[in-house]
Symmetry: C2
Subunit: 556 residues, 2 copies
């Protein structure tokens, strides 16, 4: 039996486009002699469709796509993910289902059992879990259809769940498992996925065919990396990351049980993050129908990295860098930015903001009179730059890229409607220390980001001789605390136990909490870590929870 | 037996403050001779705590509060909501529980069974549902403890759920039911709540004691309105809306079964919305530690209504109105705004933006040259105003109030970082047609909002002779379509069937979808309707779902 996995890039709600893409893949798979072709979870509508699932018309269109695909299931079977209606009044209205289509008919529908409802996932908001588990027979093979999370509770050891769908199907003696997934990228996800698939294959001693989405959907990036795993847990094939692909695998094949080596592509955390961000930018623009990006080039590292990624995603001729020096800008802020632009081959424009900054200050003089220069004036400069960037964006159809990194986003080191403006936050899930690592990685073979940009101390340049370290601890220290609080969900007491200074921990955690209001109003953040700001981290804005103070008062 | 319901205003994560508040209520209830005092759902930590529930330290503090309360349970029993840990590894880590405390001990813990996971609710993200239902005995009475949603599946008729907790407890013959809730306000919620409680009381022929939160938590507003309902379904008492209260009720009492009239406070949709918004503003400021609000006064109705609400919430001496006329501003924009300010007794300041607008245009001339005046220049004016408002906010500690209404928010009729700026969106869940109604309601006894502001045609005044109707259908028509799409989740085909013009429906729905990116970056919206923008409506930004085009092409 030949099984094709079609790893495709869908657009949410683009029913015709998604359907055409799948029909082409069916043709191709048929031409390659495949018996079955498999598409990913909720492929007909794209993932995640979110509250569109509450619209009757949206579901009707999903069903229409399934019917079209069924008609194409001639001389080949199709496995495809789509929502299906719950026929009884009790429970949620929908199931998240895998359809098995053959002989121009829906032969079988298996619903998803384990519905992730944590981090970026909201599946129980929409779906009822399956209670029945039935293998489907096709050409003499017994196939277990599973959907994403269904295989993530191996032998019921995942504390989140109480059912293991494959254990339920064991009595039916499946010959192999097909898993259709929508498994978003984080820098550790492809390893976890591998671990899950190997463990499953070994447990049941049958092969696994796993097909994932590729492509970005606003903040979520799907990396593909679909897999065919032998019964002994060895990876027979891992499909490429970050690109569409259709591959056909034969089963059974004689070498499978003797395979001793995994066939895996290289995994490098920095390279994965880089590729993910590039895809994230590219799909955000393409799927919204935009081509050109603008960003402010400050001569600093964050904007340099963002500009590089934008060039890789959109082409250097589609990126405009705006230089907007003020009286507080260093000379190197210009020379470094220009050198970067030269290295990248992007266009730049330069607008001095001194005069407009003075005009604003003059206008405000009747009220501000002799009050001292403070964060108001710093923000003013950042907001003038925001206005200029948005004026270009509006007039010429650029999308403004936000260049704030995760460390700044966490502690609110940025100006709302100023440098926090933009349609997409490119590196908002990349800590400053990782920004440095990425820059070095990008420069590994050739200096693309000027070395001086990497070497100089980070500064917002909004007042004389300002350095980030005036307001923040050194980034290595800051990021270590942030990682424990954000990714690890450790409280202050636990972080202090790890050896960090209580007062500093308290200060950092308070900054993170207090700045929830800024994150509420910033652009969607491309997610590359297991815990990104955005839909996966839901915190109250109005809250008084001061993590550490309770156990050891700050002044104590 | 005397039962006290304590309807209190908690602060999320303010464990000490919440605990002190509850301890005072315990004292008061004891002094009034109560046998039991009841606090609301998750009262110890405030509702909704959201992802703070993922922090071990946060749960530890909740447990600490419960222990403190238990110590206070002398000569009085306490019912209180708090998270509790799931002792087995399977399933979610927490339960959403009602604790019954008496004789200085935890006597009983009943977990919540029905976990709302829709609209603004994410409970299955955190909690495992209860599987056991056990009444608690106290002073010879058998008490059924339920938590909010638990009583919203009467006789299993709510299609969302498959269990009816009170049916499960029936065999144990409870004498009465206590329900601890966190039921956020919408203009129809108090009626639905009433219906649910009456139906439950009649079904089981026992009385219901229902205690709700009051107070606003960022976007969610809790209106209180706690209830004591007789076994015959008559309301013996409804506690006040929008204020803290502690009331003691005696049960059994002889008049109960003969009661023929409901004791209800008046319900007026507009008055409820008004009071809710006032509480929403007041608590947002108070709980964040701010006192003063600033807003732009355009002479239009949205800013007039917002200013009025801010005065009611914070006091007229705490509100500053900024007038920022441009060359396109009408004369009445100033005179109307000043008249409003006079009526409200608030301070105003005036800054002309013509010169700064010209300066920006001059700066941009090298790039924009002779390109025509378009939305870029309109946005520029709005953003200049945003900068000025934020400068005042930063310098003097005002929170900027956003004045965008729900109709504008829906179709994206507003400038990101301009008039869409602000820390809190006051009327972002109030359609423009409702804004008119509210204004009339406020003016019922006396002209507070100058009549001319209500009568003149709405305009953004960003270009010569601009009217909202240049870009948008008349608001009565627009709002009728928006209501069907947003509140009713109707697709385009269904809306057309209701008699709306296909092309217009398509245009409006497309505007709503395309402007998701703006709503993603705006302030939290005070929720007063059953479907508000914000946490309760989760839509993809990047999506191609064009609701109508598919069934009847726009050009057809």
């Amino acid at each position: 039996m030949k099984i094709a996995l079609a790893q495709l890039n869908y657009r949410i709600g683009a029913f015709d486009e998604n359907l055409q893409k799948m029909l082409s893949a069916v043709e191709k798979a048929r031409a390659l002699g495949a018996d079955i072709v498999c598409f990913a979870e909720l492929a007909v509508c794209g993932y995640p469709p979110r509250d569109f699932l509450e619209f009757e018309d949206f579901i009707r269109r999903c069903e229409e796509s399934v019917r079209h695909l069924a008609q194409a299931a001639r001389d080949i079977a199709i496995v495809v993910g789509a929502p299906s209606r719950n026929p009884v009044p009790e429970g949620k209205d929908l199931y998240n289902s895998a359809y098995f289509l053959a002989d121009e008919k829906i032969q079988h529908v298996q619903h998803k059992t384990l519905l992730p409802t944590y981090d970026v996932f909201d599946e129980y908001r929409y779906f009822e879990p399956a209670t029945k588990h039935q293998v489907v027979e096709y050409k003499g093979q017994r196939i277990a259809l599973t959907i994403c999370e269904d295989i993530w509770n191996i032998g019921n050891e995942n504390p989140l769940y109480t059912i293991c769908p494959l254990d339920e199907m064991q009595a039916q003696k499946p010959d192999f498992v097909i898993n259709i997934s929508a498994s978003p990228f984080s820098y550790q996800q492809s390893d976890e996925r591998l671990h899950i698939l190997r463990s499953n294959a070994r447990r049941y001693q049958i092969p696994f065919f796993y097909v994932n989405h590729i492509g970005a959907q606003t903040e979520l990036i799907f990396d593909g990396g679909s897999l065919f795993v032998n019964p002994n847990g060895r990876v027979a094939c891992e499909m490429p990351f970050f690109e569409e692909n259709l591959s056909v695998f034969e089963w059974p094949h004689p070498a499978a049980k003797d395979a001793v080596k995994d066939k895996l592509q290289e995994r490098n955390k920095l390279e994965l993050i880089k590729q993910a961000l590039i895809l994230g930018i590219r799909d955000y623009f393409r799927k919204l129908g935009f081509q050109k990006a603008i960003l402010g080039l400050s001569g600093g590292l964050d904007s340099a990295l963002t500009a590089y990624l934008a060039c890789e995603a959109l082409g250097h001729d589609k990126v405009l860098g705006l230089l907007m020096p003020s009286e507080f800008s260093s000379e190197h802020s210009i020379t470094d930015a220009l050198q970067l632009a030269k290295n990248l081959g992007i266009q730049t424009q330069q607008i001095e903001i001194n005069s407009i900054f003075s005009t604003f200050r003059q206008m405000l003089k009747p009220w501000f009179s002799d009050l001292k220069f403070d964060v108001t004036e710093e923000n003013l400069q950042a907001r003038i730059r925001g206005i200029l960037l948005m004026a270009f964006s509006n007039k010429f159809g650029y999308i403004l890229l936000n260049t704030t990194n995760k460390s700044e986003m966490a502690v609110g080191y940025g100006t709302l409607y100023g440098d926090l403006a933009g349609g997409l936050s490119v590196i908002g899930d990349v800590y400053k220390t990782e920004v440095f690592e990425l820059a070095k990685h990008i420069n590994a073979e050739k200096e693309i980001i000027p070395q001086h940009i990497i070497d100089k101390p980070p500064s917002a340049e909004l007042r004389p001789d300002q350095k980030d370290t005036d307001s923040l601890p050194p980034y290595a220290l800051l990021d270590a605390i942030l990682y424990r609080y954000i990714e690890k969900r450790q409280g202050a007491a636990q972080i202090v136990k790890d050896g960090f200074e209580p007062q500093l921990v308290n200060k950092v955690l308070r900054m993170v909490n207090l700045n929830e209001f800024k994150r509420h109003q910033t652009a969607p953040v491309l997610r590359v870590s297991p815990k990104a700001f955005g839909m996966g981290r839901r915190m109250p804005i109005v809250a008084a929870y001061n993590l550490f103070q309770q156990t050891a008062p700050e002044k104590g």
